[in-house]
Symmetry: D2
Subunit: 127 residues, 4 copies
């Protein structure tokens, strides 16, 4: 499975002293883009050409809060869910293996405001 | 229904030129906290006392992208889902009424690392 | 003087319980872009045409920390500092008038990687 | 000199397609906190004890924009500037050595709303 390792940055924590809920989406986005890059799909280059990889839905379960100094991994696995859409199945685990959050994040490729069959994206799914 | 009005700030947009997906969680969080404040529940004051209102799960559907200059509303409605947990049902609508995103965001109150029955939170649900 | 009013959002605060230092740059940027818009200069539309309004330097003095719930204003005034460059002189004041932060933020217009004389930008200065 | 290596995350870029100006403050903050940690000063632990390390002023010169995919380093060096205050002298360099931004960021330790002589902080300066 594709995995990146990150470390909590203090500014990512909010006044409760733990990582803010929206940051988990940032972590997962960064892992997806690194994964796409490793598979030859460049998010920024596509955007410059008018092809936008966009989320249609996110589902995130928060299990335990990430705290200042925590080192963690973010994983990415892709499932095909329809003719146009994929689901990025993602987990955030602390360095000790503890599951901190898990996500099912659905995405499509969009050109001129319309979803279309972006073959490299759809080919990422294992099935 | 409780509603706040906001305007997209350019720095909230990413290299695709539209509001980044994680920002919608920020918009929804801000609306929730304003809603809680209006009901006499102060998120920051509670955190300072050791009571953390935390999300356990978010589900967000992205319908249409918010763009630079867009004015929009974020609404909040509360459903009770278990003895300890509530669901904040939220919509983001552009000023012309178009639905941009909707969310079902589940929360609990936590003290000493454990969810507990925070009566004012649970009393927010309409039912 | 051009001024906008904002309110601290809880997610803008960090683990010290006050607004994080980088957020003040966001507040000042948003005020500048609203100011530019009011003067007929559209930051996002220019970027889409290949004209980037960019900062070359920021100087920010932090006087007192903004806290959860604070309402504040951000002002903008423009000074011409060279043939190509302007300085946005900005203040952040809490609703009670207290000065929280002040900034001198220098900007130029860039096209094809080079600063150029963008007449509407340069005409913003009062002198 | 103390240095950390980071990589631009796409969400840190704004609609101009380059890293947003406020993000440089985040990069510099993260480098400072890692530096402090390496010297035995824990920013988050201090905040929990009521000691806040706070910036009083930042000066950042933006030389060249960081772009999606860029790998870069952030350095930290400390100068003593008064009885209570230090200056973090920081540089952001792209992996090829190009200087992207430099900062002079002034900080003090604050307890009960007042700056005080925090000996470990003041001892960080080389002089």
């Amino acid at each position: 499975m594709f995995t990146i390792e990150l470390k909590v940055r203090d500014y990512e924590c909010d006044l409760q002293g733990v990582v803010n809920n929206a940051r988990y989406l940032h972590y997962m986005e960064h892992a997806r883009h690194e994964f796409l890059q490793a598979r030859g799909i460049d998010f920024a280059a596509l955007a410059a050409e008018g092809v936008d990889l966009m989320l249609t839905r996110v589902e995130v379960d928060y299990r335990r809060p990430l705290r200042p100094g925590d080192v963690f991994t973010v994983s990415v696995r892709v499932e095909r869910v329809s003719r146009l859409k994929v689901c990025f199945v993602q987990e955030i685990r602390r360095a000790d293996g503890e599951l901190m959050a898990s996500g099912r994040n659905y995405g499509v490729a969009v050109r001129n405001g319309r979803p279309f069959r972006h073959v490299p994206l759809l080919a990422l799914s294992e099935a």
